[in-house]
Symmetry: C2
Amino acid sequence: MDRPVGIGLIGLGNVASGVVRLLGDAPAAVRRRRLDVALQRVAVRDLQRPRTVAVDPGLLTDQAMAVVDDPRVDLVIELTGAPEAVEWVRAALARGKDVVTANKAMLAEHGDELFGLALDRGVDLMFEASVAGGIPIIRSLRAGLVANRVESLYGILNGTTNYILTQMTRGAGDYPAMLRLAQEKGFAEPDPTMDVSGRDAAQKLCILSRIAFHSRVTGSQIFCEGIEQVDAGDIQYARELGYAVKLLAVAKLAGDRVQARVHPAMVPADSLLANTNDEFNAIEVVGSSVGNQVFYGRGAGQMPTASAVVADLVELVQRKRAGGGTAIGDMILGEGALELADIAECELRYYLRLRVLDCPGVLEKIAHVLAVERISIASVLQKQRDLQGGSVPLIIVTHEARERQMKRALAALNDLREVEGAPRVMRIEDL
Amino acid sequence: MDRPVGIGLIGLGNVASGVVRLLGDAPAAVRRRRLDVALQRVAVRDLQRPRTVAVDPGLLTDQAMAVVDDPRVDLVIELTGAPEAVEWVRAALARGKDVVTANKAMLAEHGDELFGLALDRGVDLMFEASVAGGIPIIRSLRAGLVANRVESLYGILNGTTNYILTQMTRGAGDYPAMLRLAQEKGFAEPDPTMDVSGRDAAQKLCILSRIAFHSRVTGSQIFCEGIEQVDAGDIQYARELGYAVKLLAVAKLAGDRVQARVHPAMVPADSLLANTNDEFNAIEVVGSSVGNQVFYGRGAGQMPTASAVVADLVELVQRKRAGGGTAIGDMILGEGALELADIAECELRYYLRLRVLDCPGVLEKIAHVLAVERISIASVLQKQRDLQGGSVPLIIVTHEARERQMKRALAALNDLREVEGAPRVMRIEDL
């Protein structure tokens, strides 16, 4: 290919504007690779809206399909996050055009179809920007760690929830107040549901699991608990026990299945994940050859995400110049695809916080309930009577127990006359 | 290329045995990429020596050049670390064979020549394993962060020294004792000079600087101070001040030059680098688009290093199958290559520990010496008189000062009658 590679851009929002800026003012590393590209068409929702970057108005269209269909466009960058994006990407791949996207929801739900289509047409579908912003975790898993069987993967994949939990850990306030603060600072959307429910992290985990474990799982199948119920008191007790509370996305091998789950978890206070604060992301990967690795950085934001898009673009253009070929084969799930494990079968350590009557025999009764479910106690922390009267907080940390048994034990504890209110529980990951 | 890619291996030590093991028992991710390779020739120093991996004895030779010259060998993996390696690699590239190496000393000293030769012959020279073992830092800098101007880079690149400093920080003993412990545990060589002097880290920094800053610097030009003089007392004071002591490899833009230096430094106690302990490595990269990123993992060892070698091998073989081409262009330093800054011009914060006479006017005299060199004091910590008699420890932390001026101030402090013994000094990096 001797002429410049023709780029079509769908979307000209925050990240896309960053991409345009990087293409116009490319760092030396990009220039050294002689990235000969030309922006040929840009689809926007509203042609009249003022732009933060200079784009030739003649390139603009309000029809995404006009970008896909433009014969000068060899490569489509999709950065809308719109639900219709799957149709545009499907059409682009079908027409033999490479695609770069940051659309995690699309890949989490339609990955099988889209990667298959790309392979079929001999083009590429690249998506570094879809997970953890500027952190090169996708290419690290696909290329850098290719000589590893990934055993487990722990991610702080959502900046909004990590910001909120960090503020709560620093004692700045409780969940509702810190959510409002995050919204004021622009770290949380006006409707924060996707973030605080863990669904955003689950979509990203779904993409990472496909690469790391070759597992077929869609975002909506992943067990998901958000941070809405995390209590500042639990964060305080976690600290006393040597842990920090994070919204963790976990995927790990469990026999011939893969566990994939998103939930608040206690992680050791001296771990790198515990020290991943504010809006930062981190992913810990345990590989059969390399052991533990951690990748840390900004998981969102205009320029970090644009950096990932341009990295994909550079790789694609280099590959086209070198004679083509596609690197999509590893994204295709064949017969070896691993199925999802039932969350009820997961074995984990648990933190329990009960409010119990301060009278003889209570601990014995509670210990009995756990023993019936064969849940072994690792440590107990009984607090002195506080101002709330006749009951005291009782903290129990268990050894590994099956989620199913813990569920039953919780129901039984809830029924005890000596236990006031519902027991609070949090999973522990020792990393 | 329809036949299997022919691999020639020079060296069959620890890492090379790991590579052979990975090729024989490849993880699914490698198999999915249909890595059709065949080990054709293996050079060893001693044909009679027992092997830890099964290799067809018919493949063995004690002549490295027999591997290079073998017509069935398309790709040479050099894993000896021998000084003669540069001749074998030069010959392999000249014959149009791709090379994968872990030889940091060779690349640090002969990078210009070897990368140029590879470009000239249209082949590749890959070296992920030469820096930080299994951490994919080379491909992250070359590909994942390609859309960034790297502003600075801070590395814990030597596992031996990090192990020793970690043990000293935990109060396990002083430097000589912890060096002996590291030797007993196999983390330090019988002759530990390359590691403890910082020279090993400097060679790795030289490779990273070439990628990150496009700077022409050989390992031996990098300013280098080892950990031999680090005192357990300084580590203790660092902790009181909120820092941890690490052997840091630093490269950063300074105007139109690049600072590159290796020395013990104090880093903030809550940073990820401060929490990089034992034999682990970590690299913090500050990029113009992504901001701060950290890559953490095992920087040495058989399987982590073999993992990096096989990752390079997989990428090379995929590229050959896709029609060839080379990705070496970015390693060639053209006219834009940055020169090294003089260490004397570096501006840094400093920690000073003096032992001073406990009498009036001492602090004034010391402050005067610093003021003469226009070094501004950030904080002072004066300890109570201890058992050693009439003198007391005085800790001073400065604001940013030029190394040249600090040198002069140290000489003047040393001349003060009120200062006992030589002042101790350590650089501070706030990351």
